[in-house]
Amino acid sequence: MPAGWFLTDEDVANLAAYVRSFSKIPSEPLPGDAVRGARVYAKGGCSNCHIVAGAGFGYGPELSNIGIRRSAPYIRKAIVKPGATMPEGFLLVEAITPAGDKIEGIRVNEDTFSIQIKDATGQFHSLRKQDLKELQKLRGETPMPPFEEVFNTSELDDLVAYLASLGGKQ
């Protein structure tokens, strides 16, 4: 079997979910409660950056079907240490404009001459690189704070159970 070098992380996750669907074995039960987890999701302000089933703000990745794209341990890790689970191609950048304004956000697109950034308010900025005073690529950094100390163990279990239950439209 040749290596699937041509598959992106998302392709691999989708393929794994598809192959898993062949199995009749029920998935391993999680310690948390998905219904309570939905309340933790709301209380934690997760919808300020993520969209689930059409509701929320789309700065971070959509989570509507995160349960079939990621395993429960991966979801837990992404909540506790977001920097350790950066999505492929994700890059936080900081640009200083000719006027001295600082623009920080997610790189949406980039070519040799220009870069497009989406800031935390969802506003797009199209910048010509030669005009910028500074352009920093903050590799390994994420705007998502670690929630390790925000949620207690029980809340974290519930939140993971909730997110793992999200299968999107079947």
Binding site: I51, G54, A55, F57, G58, Y59, E62, S64, T97, P98, D101, I103, V108, N109, E110, D111, F113, S114, Q116, K118, T121, G122, Q123, F124, H125, S126, L127, R128, D131
Partner: protein, 233 residues
């Protein structure tokens, strides 16, 4: 507006497109907020930089390769962002560079067929913070303009009974209006409206009108060819 000289300036405003803005689209000649430019439907731009005597000197600024070769889109342009749609897809582009900001695609069912028209989309519509796309398999979909993530999707009609949509939806005050294609396959056309925020169907009666059984009953009731029934549509 000097489009050529306004290339790539930072801080594109990313304001919402209110009904009021679309109603006064003539005050924003640098934008194209609805399918025909304005609710008057003139499809006329007062921008004067491109004229008969210089049109032959236009050069390519950027190019965007559509993922599907079938295109009949009228782009929507809002504050330096260009929104285009294709068959069951939509894309936001940086209007200065053509770089993609987000993509959305809805898989076309493998058993979808059309008779008499191509697999195209005439364009999207924008209202407030959503972009509306009508799909070939007859769904009206609302996308978040900032991310392209689906906010809601509603089934307008059943593509398996030959209904289809290629039109650009019309977004008005709190409503999105759509109509269907498929007359070549014998469907009964109709126009429907949906709540722009929730996707709930706002117009009444269309469900019955589009029902073949209801049409047949009406024809029998009218004792003829149903001309009166058609007139009601």
């Amino acid at each position: 507006m000097k489009l050529a000289s306004a290339v790539l300036l930072c801080a594109t405003a990313f304001g919402q497109v209110s009904f009021d803005r679309i109603s006064n689209a003539d005050k924003e000649p640098g934008n194209w907020l609805t399918y025909s430019g304005s609710y008057q439907g003139h499809r006329f731009s007062p921008l004067a930089e491109i004229k008969a005597d210089n049109v032959s000197h236009l050069t390519v600024k950027w190019a965007y390769q559509f993922p599907d070769p079938n295109n009949e889109v009228s782009p929507i342009v809002v504050d330096n962002i260009m929104y285009v749609s294709g068959p069951n897809s939509a894309t936001a582009l940086d209007a200065h560079t053509g770089r993609v900001l987000w993509n959305w695609k809805r898989p076309l069912p493998s058993d979808y067929h059309s008779i008499g028209f191509g697999h195209v989309s005439r364009g999207p519509a924008v209202l407030d913070d959503k972009l509306y796309v009508a799909t070939l398999d007859c769904y009206l979909v609302a996308l978040d303009v900032k991310s392209g993530i689906e906010r809601w999707a509603v089934k307008v009609a059943d593509y398996k009974t030959a209904y289809s949509m290629t039109l650009a939806p019309l977004a008005i005050n709190g409503k999105v209006v759509v109509g269907v294609s498929g007359g070549e396959a014998g469907i009964r056309g109709f126009v429907d409206a949906y709540d722009a925020k929730t996707g709930k169907r706002a117009s009444g009666g269309a469900a019955e009108q589009r029902s073949a059984a209801a049409i047949l009953r009406r024809r029998v009731r009218l004792g003829g060819d149903g001309a009166a029934g058609r007139a009601r549509l």
